[in-house]
Symmetry: C2
Subunit: 512 residues, 2 copies
């Protein structure tokens, strides 16, 4: 008999009876046994038929109405709606409002927007553009064959553990190697005080995750690493910056800021700083430590570039001078070997390593096991030391090449530093040329750099740019610099009608 | 002339004059030109000699006193202290209080403690113990040689990009492959809707980072994945759990919880659930989606095991049934290929992918480039599909082997489920045997498992254990099960004097 509702309820089921009724009617509608326009029995009548309370049927009908299957009309009863106003057969829920996702994000999510960091990473994979923006090593001259050999050896010797899950704190032999390696930087430490990170960016994030509450203050140098500013701000911290001069962070201005704002952390890149290339003088290192001791403020020392020195040994890290365990130290393989492996490390007091390990376990369980095993074997075969000796020569040469190229074609008013290590020339633009206008003009010429304002917390740096000299061949460096200088000159001509003289009359001076 | 202070100040230096004075005196003390007991000139006199204000000298002496070098005695003047009360020569700051690091951690750090997750990861690298605790694939039968070959090919063809930094959202070809792969699970998506993760654990963390505020509510199944509970709790969320029965989450109980607590997220493992092995029935999947639509609650679907089915195809993922973009979907290579590579992925609406990408950029820049390139090539050569076909057979066999071993030796009252896919037997212990007591006894016999209570939010599960059957050879599975059963029997004998009968009379029933 068509159009008769045959439904039944099972009182032993865990599914509530009203939902059983709803489900059965829905199935009858979806399978077209009940057709649009069909009038459902009145609630009271169906309740009697099924031997349930009237309210049970009321609830079932309410569900069906909410799902868009039926509608009630006073006088006409409850009618199955036309198919066109029902949703598709799989998820019959016609009036679903789309989620406005951003309404679901927490307050700090808005702080995560960092378009410059994003574009820097994306440019790396582009072969269309000469990008001096990212701080990246010169892969082409890198020991990829040695990596390949070591990986093959691991696989051929059935080293399954190299492919497995592993301990959060890191592959123990690598922690052991790094504790010895740290001695060459003057840092006395043990494997237990080393946490292997998925890149040193993760170290910044874990420290923020463990230490910072929204509203806390973090002190940084200005300018500083753009990725650090974003991490601290995304943790809800207020980031206060201390100016630098040619000896690094103005520690003479630091005490007032500390005593006033009681920061949770002081973040510093004391050696071949990013972006300025400047190293904090030994005198200031001492002063910085003393302020940390006096005011009980932990220091987060970020040292990605310490091995990349081109004019004599670099100064001792703060961690090496620290006798009272106030310094948390970050470093990374990303600037000296392959960043694609994502390996960095943290040196810290045991209590901090333990807490950071707990935090790391929740964020990604552990750094790549395979990467750690290969890196450990690579280092233990003495290949890291050999490689460092080579790149120190190469990068010094590249730095000089970039400077020569600038001397040959930079317009008047363009000034750069001469860093003793690291990856970057930090440059001041001629009056009237802003980093943003230059970036636009440069992108027409398929060349890129890091605009200085990315390195400032609260405005500033619009007349600065950072050029990474480590990545390309000398030929490409010359070509890229030529393009940037052309872009600058075009902006200047447009503004003044004058191209300005270029070349040797340009000064080289330390700038920050 | 001994014991005469020769110091000078430089008015052009950026170092304040009082600090110059302090520094020079400090150097004279450290180099032992000035010895303990030496009386410094009165402040006024030194000020006159140097041509500075008296307050400048007062400030310098105050610094030296704070640093522990000198002390003032009324009547005797200012004296250099004995060496024994000075700090070492490198950081002369004798009365530094050690930092009590935990006082510096934020409120949520205390939520990160998860000793079970930690010990599970550490046991993996131990060869001393048969550990059924971690959910890990059977590496030994894995295609390591194919990985090695692909890596070698990359290196020999100078694929430098495989070692470089790369875009945060992931290696585009891998995103493209995964978008096609997702179709085999019924999910229609585009590469742009896929974010490559450093393991799917990171997906949980990023979702928490973007969505959750302290005080928000997250709904989960009970029992559920222990690493998820910790992530949500560490984000300050209140985690509410919904019981399961043999059809999965009790969606009939869900509506009341949703309407009462308005959760920010519903977290579910609908397919071959961890730890219960149960799959949410198609009916319940439908009901869950409708509740999400009606109450505007996003669903976070975690699907690590969907490919590992042993008795016919698994149910459609929620993401495949979702017509209104309410589902965020996580999956991973860690259960089907090598977890040591740390690669997972998220499928989500564009707006969410964009925000998660911003968050990921700050936490680790990007997943391992090398791992992504190798994985992409591996998959594109059809090796993933071939491998999956093989492990489905292997793991079904291992599951059966573990069940046979239990049938042969489990004591009365030990009951297990028979999952249709995934990695785990979820077991109920005999009355009087707790997971903790068994864990201790088992560790004497060098065998381990996951105690059930780790999978519960607010107590419970003390009579449950989870056994992973995927990892070991059949021989080792039998040996491990024998040890666990012996451990149980020893506990039972001690309690009752009776060992109980073992073997076939034990029932197998679905339990949760």
């Amino acid at each position: 008999m068509k159009n008769v509702m045959r439904i039944s309820v099972n009182r032993n089921s865990k599914i509530p009876v009203y939902l059983q009724i709803r489900n059965e009617i829905r199935e009858l509608i979806l399978s077209k046994v009940l057709e649009p326009g069909f009038r459902l029995p009145p609630e009271r009548k169906l309740a009697l038929t099924l031997g349930v309370n009237r309210s049970t049927v009321v609830n079932a009908y309410r569900e069906l109405e909410a799902d868009g299957f039926i509608e009630s009309h006073v006088g006409r009863g409850t009618i199955i709606k036309p198919l066109s106003s029902q949703e598709n057969t799989r998820t019959p829920f016609p009036d679903v409002q789309p989620l406005v996702w951003k309404d679901f994000y927490n307050r700090l999510s808005a702080q995560m927007y960092n378009p410059i960091l994003n574009s820097v990473l994306e440019q790396i994979v582009s072969e269309e553009i000469i990008s001096f923006a990212a701080g990246v090593p010169a892969y082409v001259s890198y020991p990829a064959q040695a990596f390949e050999r070591i990986f093959s050896e691991l696989m051929q010797n059935d080293q399954w553990h190299a492919l497995e899950y592993s301990a959060t704190a890191g592959h123990y032999p690598l922690r052991e190697y790094l504790s010895k390696f740290m001695r060459s930087r003057g840092i006395q430490t043990k494997p237990e005080n080393i946490l292997i990170l998925s890149g040193s960016q993760q170290g910044l994030d874990l420290v923020a995750k463990v230490f910072l509450e929204p509203g806390d203050t973090v002190v940084v140098e200005e300018p500083t690493y753009l990725g650090a500013i974003s991490v601290f701000q995304a943790a809800g911290a207020r980031v206060l910056s201390i100016p630098m001069d040619e000896e690094g962070m103005r520690t003479d201005m630091l005490e007032q800021v500390i005593s006033h704002h009681r920061p949770k952390l002081i973040y510093t890149l004391p050696t071949f700083q990013n972006p300025s290339g400047i190293s904090l003088s030994p005198e200031r290192r001492h002063a910085l430590l003393q302020l940390a001791y006096r005011y009980h403020v932990p220091i987060l020392e970020d040292d990605p570039y310490g091995e990349l020195y081109y004019e004599g040994e670099p100064p001792l890290p703060l961690k090496a001078m620290d006798r009272h365990d106030h310094v948390l130290y970050l470093s990374t393989f990303s600037k000296i070997l392959f960043p694609g492996l994502r390996l960095g490390w943290c040196v810290a007091p045991s209590a901090v390593i333990e807490q950071l390990t707990l935090a790391k376990q929740l964020v990604d369980l552990h750094a790549g096991t395979t990467a750690q095993w290969v890196m450990d074997r690579f280092c233990r075969q003495g290949l890291l030391e050999r490689h460092l000796a080579q790149v120190r020569k190469d990068y010094a040469q590249k730095r000089n090449t970039m400077i020569e190229a600038l001397e040959a074609c930079a317009p008047p008013g363009f000034v750069w530093n001469v860093p003793k290590g690291g990856f970057y020339l930090w440059c001041q633009l001629p009056v009237g040329v802003t980093a943003t206008s230059l970036l636009n003009k440069a992108s027409e010429k398929r060349v890129a750099f890091l605009p200085g304002n990315a390195c400032y917390v609260g405005g500033g740096g619009t007349d600065r740019i950072r050029l990474c000299f480590s990545r390309y061949t000398e030929e490409t460096i010359r070509e890229g610099i030529k393009r940037i200088c052309m872009a600058m000159k075009e902006i200047m001509v447009k503004q003044t009608g004058l191209e300005g003289k270029s070349g040797k009359e340009q000064g080289i001076k330390p700038i920050v």
